[in-house]
């Protein structure tokens, strides 16, 4: 856990993070759905076992042990869905910037009349809001 800590986490939050992380890890380790489910249930049971731990020191100890164990048993290839961050196809088809639509030819725009009419209205509203908030811009060119 060598990440830079930017906010204070309560004990409960850390436990929840640990649980979620460990659940994710199960998907990396097992190929069979049934195995994954089985070990997830086992994991839940282990967490539930100490759900109502009255002694805070012991709870802290358990949490640290759990985090250590998770780190030690990381899978070399973490499980990622292809299009989610870190996956193989992430960023493969970058989203088109909105202003590209401004560069369309009027004939092209005419093919989607409703959409562009709505878009023009929204744009005008946006500019109005902007000018109300920050004052009038000297540059008359807007994207």
């Amino acid at each position: 856990m060598s990440y830079l800590q930017t906010k204070v986490l309560s004990h409960a939050q850390r436990v929840r993070k640990l649980y979620k992380d460990a659940l994710r890890e199960m998907y990396a380790h097992y190929y069979e759905r049934a195995h994954v489910r089985f070990w997830c249930v086992m994991l839940r049971a282990k967490f539930d076992e100490h759900k109502n731990e009255p002694d805070m020191r012991k709870a802290k100890q358990l949490l640290l042990e759990g985090e250590k164990k998770l780190q030690e048993n990381r899978h070399p290839f973490p499980f990622k869905f292809p299009h989610s961050p870190g996956g193989v196809a992430y960023g493969r088809h970058p989203p088109t910037p909105d202003w590209i639509l401004d560069t369309w030819h009027p004939l092209e725009k005419a093919q989607y009349p409703e959409y562009f009419a709505r878009r023009d209205v929204r744009k005008r509203e946006f500019i109005e809001r902007w000018e109300k908030k920050y004052g009038k811009s000297e540059d008359s060119h807007h994207h």
């Binding site: 998907y27 990396a28 380790h29 097992y30 190929y31 069979e32 759905r33 195995h35 089985f38 070990w39 030690e72 048993n73 990381r74 899978h75 070399p76 290839f77 499980f79 990622k80 869905f81 292809p82 299009h83 193989v88 196809a89 992430y90 960023g91 493969r92 088809h93 970058p94």
Partner: protein, 578 residues
Amino acid sequence: MSLNKKLMIPILCAVFLYCVAMFLWVFGVYMVGSTEQSYMVEWQFFSLCSSVWSLPIIVDYISVIFSCFVCLISGSVSLFSMSYMEGEVYMKRFMMLIMAFVGSMNLLIFVPSMITILLGWDGLGIVSFALVIYYQNKKSLAAGMLTVLVNRVGDALLILVICFLVNWGEWRIGYGMTGSYSMLVCFLVVVGAMTKSAQIPFSAWLPAAMAAPTPVSALVHSSTLVTAGVYLVIRFYSTLIESQEVLWFLSKMGVLTLLMAGLSACYEVDLKKIIALSTLSQLGLMMFTVGIGFPLVAVFHLLTHALFKALLFLCAGSIIHSTMDSQDGRILGSLNYLLPFSSSCLVLSSVALCGMPFLSGFYSKDLILEGAFSGFSGVLEIVIMLMGAGLSLIYSLRILLVGVFGQSYGGGLSMYETESGYVVCSICVLSIGAIMGGWLLQSVWVEVNGFSLVGVFGKLVISVVTFVGLFYSFVNFFLSKILSKKNPSGVSWFLSGMWFMNLASGSFLAGVGLKLGKTMHLCLDLGWMEVLGGQGVFSVLGSGVSLSYLTQKGSLLVYIRMFMVMLIFLMVCINVFY
């Protein structure tokens, strides 16, 4: 069915490449291969300082068959990319890159001159870089940089070879020439070839290059580009035989790569990366075969391997395309129900890779194993090689078990697609190659027919190894059905990380290089080079200029006096020294 203009380009390319392949097969292979004649055209530009500048073109069985297969595979890939790249806007650019690749590959194949080989070699490096970063995300860029930089190392070594070959007076290769620095030249060529074929210190780029689109991986990173290194070594073999130490080194590195890639493939979960690692292990096997002295067998294996590996990649590509870019083995599964055609061809090619009798891989792989027994190699080497061969069975079956027969964890069935006609067509062509290729080649090319005599013991060992691999993987598969807790240990980290090769060639080298570069910049560029170079010369010249102004300041009488002084001085000097 109306083809729009965008799709015309790959169709044209595919038809063209198929026609070339057909032409090369019918005329080239039956004319050259069966009569065992080689033709060589050489155009000599000029001879300067006793170095011959010439453009040789060699047409022999190796080059013709290799070129034929390159065209066949790239034709299939073009056809395949009709479906795989259907969302692509710049189809023309993609096909141009593919054709540039085929062009530089053929330059490499047909012209056995070091300089032209360097041209083709550089072309391959650049095109493969452009193809790896084809998807414009960060991962591809990182992989592309790794690829192109490792290939650059090879280019630099080949340029060094060209420099040293000036001593031999020509840059043509493949005549069994030797000369001064023979050993160094051989070593440089072999290490250069190892970068292209991703042998052990340079292995990290091949799995990373799987960030390219799958048709590209099928063409570039499995069957043709990476075999360019092996091809160079084979062409250079007649010279290499003179320096046995280099061959010894090559065989050791090859067999280590075989083991490393095989073990890593057994841990990898990404479908494409498993195939890439299996390619790597087969490349190691080829290098090993050349190293122990069977270049012809290595060529044979190279050719059959190209066929079934391209098929394997196309099937994987079809699967990846149909399941919305999923290539993780833990997501994939049950493909035998979902994509029966692709998965059956996947099975076929995996089986060919394992060396199933009478499929392509059988002919070549069997020859290699037999050759290893009769060649000059140590016991440990052979043991590791047999382990590697056994591992090839394990990882092939692993692909099938995790992908084809396992449980699926994708989205809903509505997300799946089926193969289009183009995919079916291209896969069919390559399947025929994978089934018949070995047999056809052996029938055309009589030289590789059973030449080695192996005892009963050797044969037995080969079959035992094969069956042990099969047995082990099945046992492992059924054991995995049993509920047990798996904890990855340090060893598995080591093995799955390709023996930490990617760390060594990525972070380590980059770190050292950057540090060294900074030191050089500070000490040389901003330090000594300034003092001894630009600034120093400038100050010296400045004082010279002021001296010349000083001497030109006086009047005519001063000049005459100076002349007299000079005259007497020179007279004294000359009379003293001469």
